[in-house]
Subunit: 433 residues, 2 copies
């Protein structure tokens, strides 16, 4: 296990891998730096590692121009990501630059006057934000010479890894609980990689993957969210970059972000801070709000109780893509919400379904349950006066309603069923309602 | 019925609606011109009407620059579409500018050396090309003062109309056969419009809509694919524009396009011709190939038999989005395939499923059955020597595999199911396979 989990302090190695501006891994707890490699825990304090950068010098205007001339995907931000400069020429799934939808109809319903936007990641290749993080993990795997991509998953991640591995020329082997719904199994299997059902629940799958990563059987394997996690996580920064660029290189005032492990929220904050540091946006305050499902709300529970520690919960919610009971980045999320003047809130399953329908009815966006969580929490925070309706607000939709049809199916159906005749239609009272 | 179907010859009306460069409707059979309006059949010969343009003057380079400076959606081509110049500022679903994927892995498997591309319309807002045509119909409906959007549908179109109506501020009322699968019903209903199940099959639904359109009950209703059809159809031209722009303002040598009604194929040809006429691409030959499912192959049957007339068939195929047994544009498709030196071919259900998996395995693109049809036909045409492997070829994927999971589900599942132990994994023989 040692070789893959324990990091050795960096010295001035000359044959370092080329991951563009990524200079080293650094420990988020003690700050110690390590050479770039497939590492995820600090050798000194076992804290999580993250990518440290030599960010580009030069004027902000030059950098903006360079970005704007780039491709319509996350690789336009290659100068700010742990990827080689020629990344756009390599085979990859090329996610990102999804729509930032000005949600005027939703704003009217919610009473938001300062501008409400939905960042809609259902437009990614496999229709969730996971394509962003996996695309970066692919480039790290390439740099480190891995030939198999792997992960444990219950849905979105499996599809993203399968698709990206297929395009990028990796073997993939994805582990899922053996009793997943058939639709999710099909999505995970269709890309032709190995798909292994594990007799047990998701925790059992995760435990198994941890064993495998330390065993010779897993040699040459890149587990996107384990030994490639420091790189993988950086993919979420691109949400921050895109939101600001799409707002005309402006920070939004308020962001509402879903919390599963909490990684996405912390990396969006990291991305915003980088844009400020580089002078790409004006340095002004912004507030970050976290959104959870009531049935899996360890972070919002801690936030409301004023705790710094997140107590694990056993998830029970329809928002399965957010159902991580022991979120690794929970404490960092609490820090960010408090530091920026934001909050963490949760909504119950009924409110999630209502919010999915509200977003669909007002903006024509059919969101996954995670999108119901963020929209529902936005409504709740507005009602509580914690979100300011006069400020520019961005709400994330990180997935696609087609993947969680079961959430809305019981309450979504035809208005009427009639015989094919004008009389029957007249009787139904639907003409020019 | 008269007011909505019969077109009156145009005179120099001064209060014409503003649909940008759209100058009139013209009959595809006799050429007679009519004022822009919600018309679809020629008053003289009952031929289908299409939009005639005053295309922009000025240099090709100026027009290219104007297009390239436009938004990342179909509105960048507003100067070539029947929409007002400020269309991008109006609420709409904003589809298009989807990925043109360089499919090198698929090319290797198929032996294509001249460059193989997949135009992947699963990236549209509701994940099918229907968003393109509906977006244009929305602007026509707005111009003509309609307040309700309607259609008959068995899937993709219902979702596209529901979503676009929600965003654009129209009421919608969509008609479907009463016994559709629940998933499709949910997708059609979630956007909150009226959804009416009709007791009967799809033909009964269509007949009912034809009655409704001529009745006062349907007054103020825009049926996107009936009385708005001339505008609606123009949305498919954007596929031609995007493909050429994404190839660096070059025509591809060969295109493989699915055939349902045949409208998409004919409008792509129209779009390519416009680009040539405007000098945006070099005038050189291209070949257009049509793709059908064997279980609904009226056009390929006519093509192979050398007929000019398309004899209707009763559809029986898993490619339900292409299952139009009596395709309105069939004769025009035959003309285009013959004129350009292309062909029309079909594949059976097993070949469709194989092709879906081939595309997923090689390029990480999970296509709808219609995408299985185009990829399968591409393979068949290459084997037959009708497609030249040394030429640049573009294959269309017009929809998303998530909407037709049933097609691949019976043959797509886990490689293995094991206990969560390293021994069990070793025994499964999957380590570094």
């Amino acid at each position: 296990m040692a070789a893959q989990t324990v990091a050795v302090s960096t010295d001035s190695s000359t044959d370092a891998v080329d991951l563009g501006p990524a200079a080293a891994l650094s420990c988020r707890e003690c700050g110690e730096r390590f050479e770039l490699g497939p590492l995820f825990a600090c050798a000194s304090c076992f804290g999580p590692l993250e990518v440290a950068y030599d960010l580009p010098s030069g004027s902000p205007d030059e950098l903006k121009k360079r970005i704007e001339a780039g491709p319509n995907n996350i690789w336009r931000y290659a100068p700010l990501l742990p990827v080689p400069a020629d990344v756009a020429d390599k085979p990859n799934i090329n996610p990102g630059f999804t729509k930032l939808v000005k949600a005027d109809n939703l704003a009217r319903e919610l009473g938001v006057t300062g501008g409400l936007y939905v960042k809609d990641d259902s437009g990614n290749p496999t229709h969730s934000f996971k394509d962003r993080v996996v695309a970066i993990a692919v480039e790290a795997a390439r740099a480190f010479g891995f030939t198999t991509l792997s992960c444990s998953s219950t849905g979105n991640l499996a599809g993203a890894v399968g698709a990206a591995a297929a395009r990028a020329g990796f073997r993939s082997c994805v582990f899922i609980p053996h009793d997943l719904e058939q639709g999710k199994v099909v999505m995970a299997a269709v890309y032709g990689g190995e798909l292994v059902g594990i007799e047990g629940n998701y925790d059992d799958v995760n435990r198994f993957c941890s064993e495998l990563i330390g065993d010779p059987l897993g040699e040459g394997w890149g587990f996107v969210n384990v030994n490639l996690r420091p790189y993988y996580g950086e993919g979420s920064k691109t949400l921050a970059y895109e939101i600001c660029e799409q707002l005309g290189w402006q920070l939004p005032d308020q962001l509402v972000i879903p919390i599963a492990s909490g990684s996405q929220l912390t990396k969006i904050d990291k991305g915003l801070q980088e844009l400020i540091k580089l002078g790409l946006v004006e340095d002004k305050p912004y507030k970050i709000f976290g959104a959870q499902a009531e049935g899996c709300s360890p972070v919002s529970t801690a936030f409301k109780a004023g705790h710094d520690v997140v107590r694990p919960q056993k998830p029970n919610t329809i928002a399965k893509s957010l159902a991580i009971g022991n979120p690794a980045d929970g404490p960092y999320v609490l820090d960010i919400a408090r530091r920026t003047g934001g909050a963490v809130e949760d909504v119950n399953d009924e409110q999630i379904v209502d919010a999915i329908k509200l977003l669909a009815r007002t903006e024509g966006i059919f969101a996954e349950t995670a999108g119901g969580v963020t929209v529902g929490v936005t409504r709740k925070l507005l009602e509580a006066g914690l979100l300011d309706p006069a400020l520019t607000t961005v709400v994330l939709n990180t997935g696609d309603g087609l993947k969680t049809l079961d959430a809305v199916a019981p309450t979504t159906g035809p208005t009427a069923t009639i015989r094919p005749s004008l009389d029957a239609f007249r009787d139904a009272g639907l003409a020019n309602g």
